[in-house]
Every structure is written in structure tokens, then in C-alpha cells.
């Protein structure tokens, strides 16, 4: 104890402290490690649909998986109400995508012991998002550490995330380990199959190159070696004349035959793109819960749309 603090730790002060302190302690050792064996089904909250889907596939009825993101809202940009964050606090585990996904997590008060970063240990596979840096004050130049966040679009990355989820769920319900491992194996096989199917689909793309309507396809791009480039266009909005001119300039510098979209673009946008020799293709990311089917069916439809491009004559694409 240094001299500065010693006077404050006088025994008179201690008497007060002691007099004022009698807070009872809960059974603090009771953590979230409750299992189905206790009759309580552990609750797991996720920050996006792919994680919730994988947790549901692996956990089965051993866990209750919740995704409170409202329909039609992109989980990446969702800002939950305080009451929803309190619900996340009450969960036994919170599945995070990692890679900076769901910015609200940075400002939510959540118990560190309940957080499961499914991208943990996969730093070498994270793709930089290439954000702007800035400088102010004595801290010097810095960015906010942005990396691309739609990791599950690389099915092999999704497999690694599924393993992390499985480990967390087995922790919660160790008595259900065997069945969860079995389900994980099935899921891994399905994702491996999806990876092969996507690789085959993308291998048949026109050689001219690929564009992305939004910078969310980095992991898909990295996995299948697509070397695509992104613009920031919204499916439901016209990009504006400046946007079209910028695109025309880009195409002059480096031609592209395909543009992937998160959702169906406006008909006028699609027609104008085709007029420029770029075929718009919907490739949904699946971040939000699909209206029908699940992650695999959604990715299956994506694959079919990409595979259909093979029928397009490469010469006609320009």
C-alpha cells in the first residue's frame, strides 16, 4: 500500500466499511451450466440466422435457440431495444458471429462468460474490409479494425463456426453430447457438399469477372477465387446517374459479366445492367431468417441461379 492510500485505510474507515457491508451473496457458483438433465432446457441466443440455424441443427431439442431479430431486418445493422438486450443477458449462451458482425454487440452489456465467438481462432481466415482510417489527437492514424463479416458465405468457414457452436452447446448439455456430435457430423457433411456444389457452380462463370452489389461477399469471393469487386447498391433503390457512370467507368477499366445481388434488383436496374453486358444474379446471404426453407435450401437456390449462368453464352455476356 502506498503512502497516498494509507490514510484512507485507517481502521476507523474500516469499521465504517465493515458496518456498511453485509450484502448477502447468491450461490455465486451457480453459473449458466444448467443442463437438460436438470429439467431446464438451456436457452441460446444468436445474432444472425446462420448461427441460429446451425445451433438448431446441432442442438436439436437439447437447447432452445432464439433469434429475436424482426423479420425483414438485416441482423448486421439491427439495433436491439434495451429490453431485447436484457433477454440476451438472460440467455445461457450468446452466439456471436465474430469478425465485427452485428455492431450492437460492441455497445451491449453482456456477460463475457456467456459469449461464444464462433470465429475465434480463425483470425488468419478473416478478410479485411478495407475501411477508411482517420487521425485525430495524439493517438495517430487508426481505423476501427474492420474486417469483412459475412463469414458463413464460405461453407468451410461455416463448418468451423458450427464446431465452435457444438462445443458451446455440449458445454451446456454434456449429457446430450453423443447425439450432438452425430448431428454436427451430418451438418458438416452437408456444408461440405454445399461447398463442392458452389465451387462447381462458380467454376462455370463467364471469365469476364464478377461484381457485387454490396461489399458482403468477401468470404464467398475468397473461397472460390472470384476476384470480384464491390459497389454499394441497394436492391430496392436506383443507384442514380452518378452510380451508373461510376459503374461504366469501372467496366471500362475491368469488364464484368455478372453482378451478385442480396435481393432482387429493380426491374429497370436489371435491364440497364443487362444493357451494359452485366447479368444480375440474386445470391442471398441468408443473414436473416428466410421466408421459406432454411439455410441449405436458400444456398441451394443461390447455387442454382449461379449455375444457370453457364447457359449464358460467354460472348453474349458482353
Amino acid at each position: 500500500m502506498n503512502r497516498k492510500t494509507r490514510p484512507k485505510v485507517s481502521w476507523l474507515a474500516l469499521l465504517f466499511i465493515g458496518t456498511a457491508s453485509c450484502g448477502p451473496s447468491d450461490d455465486a457458483a451457480t453459473t449458466a451450466e444448467t443442463t437438460a438433465a436438470d429439467g431446464h432446457v438451456p436457452t441460446v441466443y444468436a445474432v444472425n440466422y446462420p448461427l441460429a440455424w446451425m445451433a438448431g441443427r446441432v442442438g436439436g431439442d437439447a437447447v432452445e435457440v432464439r433469434l429475436p431479430v424482426p423479420d425483414g431486418v438485416d441482423p448486421a445493422h439491427w439495433q436491439p431495444a434495451p429490453e431485447t438486450i436484457l433477454a440476451y443477458q438472460d440467455a445461457d449462451r450468446v452466439l456471436l458471429n465474430g469478425a465485427g458482425y452485428a455492431g450492437w454487440i460492441r455497445f451491449a452489456s453482456l456477460s463475457p462468460g456467456k459469449l461464444v465467438d464462433t470465429s475465434r481462432g480463425l483470425d488468419d481466415r478473416l478478410v479485411p474490409a478495407g475501411g477508411t482510417t482517420h487521425s485525430h489527437g495524439p493517438g495517430g492514424e487508426h481505423d476501427h479494425g474492420d474486417v469483412a463479416s459475412h463469414t458463413w458465405l464460405d461453407p468451410t468457414f461455416a463448418i468451423a463456426q458450427a464446431r465452435a457452436i457444438a462445443n458451446a452447446l455440449i458445454d451446456l448439455a454434456p449429457d446430450r453430447k453423443t447425439e450432438m456430435v452425430e448431428r454436427l457430423n451430418v451438418l458438416q457433411a452437408e456444408l461440405t457438399g454445399l461447398d463442392g456444389a458452389l465451387a462447381q457452380a462458380f467454376s462455370g462463370l463467364p471469365a469476364a469477372g464478377i461484381l457485387y452489389s454490396h461489399p458482403v461477399y468477401q468470404y464467398l469471393d475468397a473461397r472460390y477465387g472470384l476476384a470480384g469487386r464491390s459497389v454499394s447498391w441497394e436492391p430496392g433503390q436506383d443507384p442514380g446517374e452518378a452510380g451508373w457512370q461510376a459503374l461504366a467507368q469501372r467496366l471500362r477499366e475491368r469488364p464484368a459479366a455478372v453482378m451478385l445481388w442480396e435481393g432482387e434488383p429493380l426491374a429497370a436496374t436489371a435491364d440497364r445492367l443487362r444493357g451494359m453486358g452485366v447479368e444480375p444474379v440474386v445470391f442471398e446471404t441468408g443473414a436473416a431468417r428466410p421466408a421459406a426453407g432454411d439455410y441449405l435450401t436458400l444456398m441451394g437456390h443461390n447455387r442454382e441461379r449461379v449455375a444457370r449462368l453457364k447457359l449464358v453464352d460467354k460472348g453474349d455476356a458482353h
Binding site: 476507523l12 482510417t133 487508426h142
Partner: protein, 396 residues
């Protein structure tokens, strides 16, 4: 007998100042050792209870006492820091729940405690009003802190600057109060609880400002150099965290390397606690793990040694006081020789005179005993509030 008591009473009432001084002196001599014993017993019980309810504390190498006092009672300087990754490391062992504590800031006289939601469950702190912490920039007040700051849910409180004279130091941050805890009779009553990230923003590690990449922020841009934007002196950092500017707050660097004051480790079971201690003891991890109960026992042993000296001193003073009182009575008898002679001449037997003098002494002792008992009862019943009121300014 009634006449004896009446005469004794009349004498004491006539010499009221002398009687009052005697009663006060004897009361103090009776009350002091009793009160000291009571206060020490109660204080040690509560110090032990708080410490015993905190199985393990993890902090940077340094004084274990300082670590325990600051982490359990939010007293004194914040201990030398750990890094936030320690919390994850403890969780990864699977042996304990790890609750971070970031200390060192104040709002007025109230300590600001940066922590995680687990803290409230761990200490058994229910809310009396409002809700728990959900978003950075929010605060939950202990019951006494709410009274002291005159704030409740919906109000705002402002952190105190570290030093008035350091113009380059951290700025005060305005926090939104979202809840008030029910009184617990513990140091938690005095605290202002925030999320650990809010504590970092108070420390200046995180901050918020307009997005320099935004074309609308041109007035705050000194220059744009490729992908880097340099801010100028006009760039204003936000002093309040609101839902509207929340997205503009950020931390520079990896939060894993950010400072925390200590970690409360709650082992899954006794064996896990021992294993966790084993992991950190005798290693060069730069981390100290302590059992607060043991530290407080050592501290209280020291205090009880001091108590023996204090009680011995009180006993000496008591002996001196009793001797003085005896002298006062003897001198009083000598001074009252004429009065005693008068009583004898009007027919009072010597035994009767002695009874009157004895009754006077008994009445004084009785009054002192009643007063001492009353004071002891007050200390027993209202001790917490009394000591809080008497010692608060000195403690803070």
C-alpha cells in the same frame, strides 16, 4: 426508605450540574468499552461476510490488501491493472465465472464501478426501480448513491474529472440512469454501476466523434490523405452517449488489451477454486490471485490486537475516573459536614445519614447505567446509519 430516597433525590436535583457531570463521566466509562466491543464485532462480521462471499480475487501483482479493499469496498486507489483478456482466460479454464471490475472513477463522492451483468446476480442485488444495464452509457445507482446524487431512472449523472487542473485529461461523460438498486447494506449501495465499456469511455480509452469519412464532416477534416482522414481541432468528441451517436463511439485497439482493475472469480466448486489458485500461484503470469477472506482475517487480527491496547487504555481511564469519583464523593462528605451535623441534630440516626449518602451514589450509578444501556441500544439498533453519518465524510 422513601424519605431517604427523597432526600437523596432532592440533594442531587439541587446540585444538578455536579450530578450531571458525575453521571456523564460514569456513563462514558460504562458505554465506551461496550460500544467498542459491539462496533468491532459487528464490523468484523460484515467485513468477513463481504470477503467470504467473494471466493477469489484476481489482480495485478501488488498489495493484496489494497486489491481486496478496492475490489470489495471500492475504497482507496484503484489497484494496478490487469488486461481484459484475463477475463476470457479465466472463463476458458472452465473453472470459474469471471466478473471484471474497472474502478478508479467517481461521480461526486460515489465510486464508479465498471462491471458485467453477472455482478448483480453474484452479489444478490435486486432492482428497486428501472432496469439493469443494457447499453454503453447507462448507469445503475446503488440505493445510497441515488439518494446522494438525487437521481433516478431517466435522470443523468456526470462523471467527475480526474483532476481539475489537467486540461488534457479525460472529459466528464454524461451517463443515463436506467435503474436504482434496492438497499443492501453493503458498499454496493454507494456505487454507480456501469458496463466495463462505459468505464473505458470514461477513462478516455474509447470515444465518439462524427464520422470523418462522412462528407458532412468536412468542417472537422484537416486533410484527406488517400484512405486516411486527418481531423482538425474543430473535431468535437461526444460527452454523452445516446442511441443516436452510439455507432460513432469506438475503441482504438483490441479490447483484449484494455485495462481492468480486478476480476472476481467464482469457482464452479471448491476443487475448481483450488485448481484456479494453483494455476496462478507461483507462475510468472503477472497476475495475483487471493482469497479475500484470508486477507480480511489477517487485517482483522491486526485490528483486534489494536483493540486490546485500546481496551487496556480504556480500563486505565476507567480506574482513574472511578478513583476521581470516589474522591469527589469523599470530599463532598467533608464539605457537607455542617449539613450532616444538622441532620443528626434534628434526630437523624447515623445509619440514616449513611443511607442518604449511599442512596445518592446509587441514584447516580443507576442513572449512568440507564444512559449507558440506552446508548448501547442506539448503537445496536441504529449503528449502521449512525456510523455512516458520522464517518461518511472522513471515509470518502
Amino acid at each position: 426508605m422513601r424519605d431517604v430516597l427523597y432526600l437523596a433525590w432532592r440533594y442531587l436535583a439541587f446540585n444538578r450540574w455536579k450530578t450531571a457531570i458525575l453521571v456523564a463521566a460514569i456513563t462514558v466509562i460504562m458505554f465506551l468499552p461496550l460500544a467498542l466491543e459491539l462496533v468491532l464485532e459487528r464490523s468484523s462480521e460484515r467485513l468477513r461476510a463481504r470477503a467470504a462471499a467473494t471466493p477469489l480475487l484476481i489482480g495485478a501483482p501488488g498489495s493484496p490488501l489494497e486489491l481486496a479493499l478496492s475490489s470489495l469496498y471500492f475504497s482507496g486507489e484503484a489497484p494496478a491493472g490487469l488486461v481484459y483478456s484475463s477475463v476470457g482466460e479465466i472463463h476458458d479454464t472452465g473453472l470459474a465465472l469471471a466478473i471484471p471490475l474497472q474502478l478508479g472513477h467517481r461521480i461526486g463522492a460515489q465510486p464508479v464501478v465498471g462491471t458485467a451483468p453477472d455482478y448483480f446476480g453474484f452479489r444478490g442485488l435486486p432492482l428497486a426501480d428501472g432496469r439493469s444495464l443494457a447499453i454503453t452509457g447507462e448507469a445503475v445507482l446503488g440505493a445510497a448513491a441515488a439518494t446522494s446524487l438525487q437521481a433516478g431512472p431517466g435522470d443523468a449523472v456526470v462523471t467527475s474529472p480526474e483532476t481539475v487542473f489537467d486540461v488534457t485529461g479525460t472529459y466528464p461523460i454524461k451517463l443515463r440512469v436506467v435503474g436504482v438498486l434496492a438497499p443492501s447494506g453493503s458498499p454496493d449501495d454507494e456505487a454507480v454501476f456501469v458496463d466495463v465499456r462505459t468505464a473505458w469511455i470514461i477513462s478516455g480509452i474509447g470515444h465518439g466523434h462524427e464520422d470523418l469519412a462522412d462528407p458532412g464532416a468536412s468542417g472537422s477534416v484537416l486533410k484527406r490523405d488517400g484512405q486516411n482522414v486527418v481531423g482538425n481541432a474543430a473535431l468535437v468528441q461526444y460527452r454523452e452517449i445516446t442511441p443516436d451517436n452510439l455507432a460513432d463511439f469506438h475503441f482504438h485497439g483490441d479490447t483484449a488489451g484494455f485495462p481492468i482493475s480486478a476480476v472476481i472469480a467464482v469457482p464452479v466448486d471448491e476443487k475448481s477454486g483450488v485448481l484456479l489458485e494453483g494455476r496462478y500461484q507461483g507462475t510468472d503470469s503477472g497476475v495475483r490471485i487471493v482469497r479475500p477472506a484470508g486477507i480480511m482475517d489477517e487485517l482483522l487480527a491486526t485490528i483486534f490486537t489494536v483493540r486490546q491496547y485500546v481496551l487496556a487504555a480504556v480500563a486505565l481511564v476507567a480506574a482513574a475516573t472511578i478513583a476521581t469519583i470516589a474522591l469527589v464523593f469523599l470530599l463532598s462528605i467533608r464539605l457537607r459536614r455542617a449539613e450532616i451535623l444538622t441532620m443528626t441534630r434534628i434526630g437523624a440516626a447515623p445509619g440514616r445519614v449513611a443511607a442518604i449518602l449511599g442512596a445518592e451514589i446509587m441514584l447516580v450509578l443507576l442513572a449512568s447505567s440507564v444512559l449507558a444501556a440506552l446508548l448501547t441500544w442506539l448503537v445496536t439498533t441504529w449503528g449502521d446509519e449512525l456510523f455512516r453519518w458520522v464517518l461518511l465524510s472522513g471515509y470518502q
